[in-house]
Subunit: 215 residues, 2 copies
């Protein structure tokens, strides 16, 4: 990461980090529309956010753009990609070749953003050594060796809840630095990045809001 | 929702709502282990949260449990289910019978929590009138009529970004009250519940944290 992006040791709030992909997506779209500069007001309107929020978020990383001139679209997109460490060619494997695992392995969007999916793993002998699309399926008993040999960064776990923590532990011992967890359980790992996609939790939050709306 | 759950007109913070499914999951687990009471300390430890956080969250809904006696597990689980409006038998359809759509339609967990998935919709004639598991696939041109006739509450959109907003608009005009969006775009709808699963955004947040860790 370049020096001007340095956050000078300050920890940036998680909520800010979670807005950056939205900025990134919108900037990619603007670039595809041949728009070369955008004001924080216009960017805010397109994202249903306040301009002050956007300026404040970007100031966490040093601030970019020039007062009255707006942000240069391509440059800001590249800076945000840099902050997010995408385009780093992180190496990922997916454990669990069920519906979710196969869906992830076929999601071309990830490749475009610099995530290289290497393989699927499963414990079902009927699946092992098959291919889904271009993706090979290996026996989960070979997972640790594969992670070590291929310097895998991210392990996506789309497996039953009861085996999620043990597979996370195994992956980390083998050298993985991040777990992307799709099982409806919390994964606890020290000194490792854990990111969760809890589909049922998301649906429950939706249900709460729906209940409130229809009350 | 019962009266004692009433939040007396106060809007509960989104962060609180998003912790409730975690409490719910843990309470289900505790019940399966025949544990009938739990202190906020023990519940906090198992979830890596402070006991004060848990007490404060539950107090948003009136507070339950008795000082020094902890919370009754089954009762608190039922109360949280009630707050979240799960077990309401919300009716859901899934638009897009690609990898993600099919994964969602096969996710039995949703049924257990009171979400009834009725059908898949797609515009690919080769898929229409087929079945995935027990799930029928209908032509997306019939979506609006289907929503009206079957009083569909929730429309899950697992479709390309470019058609997401128009399908959300169509669904809402037909009477749906919530959109569960899986496309990597923001959906804007007035007076309707929108909940997003942005896989790429989640992976970008993971990438940021991984970049920070390895710096």
């Amino acid at each position: 990461m370049k020096d001007y992006l340095c956050d000078k040791g300050k920890k940036v709030a998680d909520a800010v980090i979670r807005r950056l992909p939205r900025y990134y997506r919108q900037l990619c779209y603007l670039e595809s529309q041949n728009i070369s500069r955008i004001s924080s007001n216009a960017l805010g309107e397109s994202l249903d956010l306040k301009a002050t929020q956007i300026r404040q978020d970007l100031n966490s990383f040093g601030g970019f753009g020039q007062q009255g001139y707006g942000y240069p679209v391509s440059e800001l997109r590249d800076i945000i990609a840099d902050i997010l460490s995408i385009n780093s060619q992180w190496k990922m494997v997916i454990v669990g070749a069920g519906n979710i695992g196969r869906a992830l392995s076929g999601y071309d969007e990830f490749m475009l953003e610099g995530f290289q999916i290497l393989a699927l793993f499963d414990n079902d002998k009927a699946m092992v050594d098959k291919q889904f699309g271009r993706m090979p399926v290996y026996d989960v008993s070979t997972l640790a060796d594969y992670i070590k040999e291929n310097h895998v960064d991210i392990v996506a776990l789309a497996v039953p809840s009861r085996v999620t923590q043990s597979l996370a532990d195994l992956s980390i011992r083998a050298g993985a630095n991040a777990i992307w967890n799709f099982a409806p359980v919390d994964v606890f790992c020290d000194d490792v990045v854990v990111e969760n996609i809890h589909l049922t939790d998301s649906l429950m939050a939706l249900s709460y809001n729906l209940g409130q709306k229809l009350k």
